[in-house]
C-alpha cells in the first residue's frame, strides 16, 4: 500500500463519521432554517428569511446563555484550579489516585439524577431551612439563576479539573526548585512558572466546559424550574412542543454561528497568551 493510501485509510473512519454525523445534519438544519412550519407542525420546504427575522423573540434565551455559560465556566475554573493544583503538586502520591477517582465517581451516575439531588438541597427543606435556623429567613434558591449556576459548576467541574490536573502533573518540579534557588517567593514562582505552564490545561478545560454549556438544557430545566431559559431549552421547545422545525433550525444555526465566533475569539486570545512565553524544558 502506498503511503498516501495508508493515510487515507487511517483518516477514513473519522472522515466518514464527521461527514455523516456532523456535516450532513448541519446541512439539513441549514436548509430547514429557510423553510416554514407545517400546518400540524414539522417542516414545509420554502425559501424565506422569516425565521431569521423572528430571532429577536428568543433574545432572552441567547442573553441568558451568553451570561451564564461564561460565568459558569469562570466559576468552575476558580473552584477547579486550586483542586487540580492540590492534586497534582501538593498531594502525596499515596492519596493521589484515590482522590482522582473521587473526582470521577459522580460521572458514574446520570447528570439527570445528580441534578435532581440539588432540587432537594436548594429547595425549601434544604439550605434555606438551614439558613432559617440561624435567623436568615425566606431565602429562595431553587428555580433561580443561582441554582442553575450551582448545577453547572457541580456538573462540569470534573471536565475542568482534569485538563488542568494533567498540565500541572506534567510540570517539571525542578523548574520550581530553580525558581526558588534564584530567589523567587513561592507566590512569584506560582505566577511566573506554574501558572503560565498550566495555561494549556486551563484553555482546554474552559473550552470543553464553555462549548458544552452553550448547548446545555437539562440543568436549567431542572434547577431553573422552566424560568431560566437557555438557547438549548428554546430548541427543545421548538422541536418538541411547538414543533416549529424551521424556526428551530434558524435558532440552531444562529447558535452555531455565535459559538464559532466566540470560540475563535477565545482561541486567538489564548494563542496570544501562549505565544508570550518560550517553551520551557530542562531536558
Amino acid at each position: 500500500m502506498t503511503k498516501r493510501g495508508r493515510k487515507a485509510l487511517l483518516l477514513a473512519p473519522a472522515g466518514i463519521w464527521l461527514l455523516v454525523m456532523l456535516a450532513l445534519p448541519l446541512l439539513v438544519v441549514f436548509v430547514f432554517s429557510f423553510g416554514e412550519r407545517g400546518a400540524a407542525g414539522g417542516y414545509v420546504p420554502a425559501f424565506t428569511l422569516e425565521q431569521y427575522a423572528n430571532l429577536p423573540a428568543r433574545w432572552t434565551a441567547f442573553k441568558n446563555t451568553l451570561i451564564l455559560a461564561p460565568l459558569g465556566t469562570i466559576a468552575a475554573l476558580v473552584i477547579a484550579y486550586p483542586l487540580a493544583y492540590f492534586l497534582a503538586v501538593r498531594c502525596s502520591p499515596k492519596w493521589k489516585t484515590s482522590l482522582l477517582i473521587l473526582v470521577i465517581v459522580p460521572f458514574w451516575t446520570s447528570i439527570l439524577i445528580r441534578s435532581y439531588a440539588w432540587i432537594f438541597i436548594l429547595g425549601g427543606r434544604g439550605l434555606p431551612a438551614l439558613l432559617e435556623s440561624i435567623g436568615i429567613d425566606d431565602v429562595r434558591l431553587i428555580n433561580t439563576p443561582f441554582a442553575v449556576l450551582v448545577g453547572i459548576v457541580y456538573g462540569y467541574l470534573p471536565l475542568m479539573v482534569f485538563p488542568i490536573f494533567v498540565s500541572l502533573d506534567k510540570l517539571d518540579k525542578r523548574l520550581l526548585e530553580a525558581s526558588a534557588d534564584l530567589g523567587s517567593t513561592p507566590w512569584r514562582t506560582f505566577r511566573q512558572v506554574t501558572l503560565p505552564l498550566s495555561v494549556p490545561g486551563i484553555a482546554t478545560g474552559c473550552m470543553l466546559v464553555f462549548i458544552l454549556l452553550m448547548g446545555e438544557f437539562l440543568i436549567p430545566a431542572i434547577l431553573g424550574g422552566g424560568k431560566v431559559f437557555f438557547v438549548g431549552n428554546a430548541l427543545v421547545d421548538l422541536f418538541l412542543q411547538s414543533r416549529n422545525w424551521a424556526y428551530g433550525s434558524a435558532v440552531a444555526m444562529t447558535l452555531v454561528v455565535v459559538m464559532l465566533v466566540t470560540v475563535s475569539i477565545y482561541m486567538k486570545f489564548i494563542s496570544r497568551l501562549g505565544g508570550q512565553r518560550e517553551d520551557v524544558s530542562l531536558m
Binding site: R37, A39, A40, G41, G42, A57, R58, T60, A61, S110, L112, I113, Y116, I119, F120, G123, G124, R125, A129, E132, R140, I142, N143, G225, G226, K227, F229, N233, A234, D237, L238, F239, L240, Q241, S242, R243, N244
Partner: protein, 387 residues
C-alpha cells in the same frame, strides 16, 4: 417553619418498606412516599433483562411491548401481571405533553406499540396518518356500549374506531390551604391568578403546557379555554407575563414541590389532585368556577408499531374491567367504563375530586384539535417561557 410532611426519615422509610413487604400498602404508595418512584421509573424500565423472567409464556406475542404514557398513570402491578400472563415485558416511556408525543411520532421511528393520546389530538393523528384503525376483533374486552359517550366519541373519526377510552378527568388547581392564613379557599381562576401575584407570590406553579396554561389564563377574563382569537390571546399573554416573576416554576412535575412545601398552589390534573389530597388533606383540589378543561385519554396504536400483537394484547388486558378497576384505584383518574365503575367502591364514585358536581362539570370544555395545533398559542407559550 413548614410542616414536616414531604421528606422521609430513615426510620419512616424502613417502616414503609416493611408495610410494603407485608402487602399492607400498595407499591404506588410506597414509591410515592419514599420518593423512589421517579428513580425506579427511570432506571427500571430501560433494562428488561434485569426483570425476572416470566414463569410461562401464554401466547407468542414477543418479549416486550413499549407503552408511551403519562406520569403517575398506571398500576405497576398490572404490568407485572401482564408480563406473567403473556411473557411480554411492558417498557414504559413517560411524556409530559401531547405536543411531545406528536413530535416524536411525526419524526418517525418512535418504536412505540401503544400510546395514550388525549381526545383533541386524535383527528390530527388520523389526518397525519400516524395511527392505525383498531381491529375490534382483537380487543374482546372492548365494549363500546359500556363507555359514557362524551368520553369515548373522540376515539372514532368518520365512523372508524382509532382509539379506545382510558380515563377522563379535569384540569383545575391544587392549593395548600394551610398557607391561606384563614382566608377562604379560592374557587375561581381569577382568584388563582390574583393569589399568585399577591399572597402566594413565588409559590405558584403552572404547567409547561400551552393548552392548559394559556387556557386557564384565558379563563381569568372569562374567555373560552380554546380561544385562538388574537385579542383574547394577547390579554392572556399579558396576564402570563405579569404573573411570571411571581411563579415558583413552569413545570408539569408539580407533585414533589407541592408535597415538600416549596410550592403552595399549582395547576393540576384530577389524579394528581386526588393523590396529593389523600396524603395531605390540606391540599385541596379546585375546579375554577369559570370553567376550564375536561379531557379524556385514549389508547391508540401508532402506525408501524414494532410489536403489533403485543400492542393489542396490552390494550385488551388494560380494558378488562377488573384490571381497569385496579388502575383507577392506583392512579385516581375516573374511568368512563360502566363495567369498571361497577367494581369500584362507592365512596370513590362519590368522591368530589374524581366526580365533580354536575354544575362544575358543565362549565368545563373539551380541548379542541385547533387549540393544540394553533401556531400562535405554541409561540405564545414559548415567548412566555423565554421572557
Amino acid at each position: 417553619m413548614t410542616k414536616d410532611n414531604g421528606t422521609i426519615s430513615k426510620q419512616k422509610f424502613m417502616e414503609e418498606l416493611r408495610r410494603y413487604q407485608k402487602g399492607s400498602v400498595t407499591r404506588r404508595h410506597f414509591l410515592g412516599v419514599t420518593g423512589l418512584g421517579m428513580a425506579t421509573a427511570v432506571l427500571g424500565t430501560a433494562m428488561p433483562g434485569l426483570r425476572p423472567r416470566p414463569a410461562f409464556a401464554a401466547g407468542d406475542i414477543g418479549d416486550r411491548v413499549i407503552l408511551a404514557t403519562w406520569p403517575n398513570y398506571h398500576d405497576e402491578m398490572n404490568f407485572e401481571a401482564f408480563t406473567e400472563a403473556t411473557g411480554a415485558h411492558v417498557q414504559v416511556n413517560v411524556f409530559g405533553s401531547n405536543e411531545e408525543m406528536l413530535a416524536k411520532l411525526q419524526a418517525g421511528g418512535s418504536g412505540w406499540d401503544v400510546f395514550v393520546p388525549t381526545n383533541y389530538t386524535i383527528t390530527t393523528y388520523v389526518g397525519e396518518d400516524l395511527i392505525i384503525p383498531l381491529d375490534t376483533s382483537k380487543l374482546p374486552n372492548y365494549d363500546a356500549g359500556s363507555f359514557e359517550q362524551r368520553f369515548s366519541d373522540a376515539g372514532s373519526v368518520d365512523g372508524q374506531l382509532y382509539a379506545v377510552p382510558k380515563n377522563w378527568g379535569t384540569t383545575g388547581f391544587a392549593v395548600n390551604t394551610s398557607k391561606l392564613d384563614g382566608a377562604p379557599t379560592p374557587t375561581t381562576w381569577k382568584e388563582f391568578w390574583d393569589l399568585t401575584m399577591e399572597g402566594y407570590s413565588g409559590r405558584t406553579m403552572v404547567h409547561d403546557y400551552q393548552l392548559t396554561t394559556i387556557g386557564n389564563a384565558l379563563k381569568y377574563f372569562g374567555y373560552s379555554f380554546n380561544s385562538v382569537d388574537e385579542k383574547e390571546l394577547a390579554d392572556a399573554e399579558k396576564l402570563l407575563l405579569d404573573a411570571k416573576p411571581h411563579l415558583f416554576a413552569i413545570s408539569s412535575d408539580y407533585q414533589p414541590p407541592m408535597r415538600n412545601g416549596d410550592a403552595w398552589m399549582t395547576m393540576c390534573w384530577t389524579g394528581d389532585g386526588k393523590q396529593m389530597n389523600v396524603d395531605m388533606p390540606e391540599i385541596a383540589y379546585v375546579l375554577g368556577a369559570e370553567g376550564g378543561e375536561l379531557w379524556s385519554d385514549y389508547y391508540a396504536i401508532p402506525k408501524g408499531a414494532p410489536h403489533m400483537d403485543a400492542a393489542y394484547a396490552l390494550i385488551d388486558f388494560l380494558l378488562n374491567p377488573e384490571v381497569n378497576a385496579k388502575e383507577v384505584l392506583a392512579h385516581g383518574y375516573p374511568s368512563a367504563d360502566a363495567r369498571t365503575n361497577a367494581l369500584l367502591p362507592k365512596e370513590l364514585l362519590e368522591d368530589p375530586i374524581l366526580y365533580p358536581a354536575a354544575d362544575l362539570l358543565n362549565a368545563l370544555e373539551f380541548g379542541a384539535a385547533a387549540t393544540l395545533t394553533d401556531p400562535n398559542r405554541a409561540e405564545l407559550l414559548a415567548r412566555f417561557k423565554s421572557a
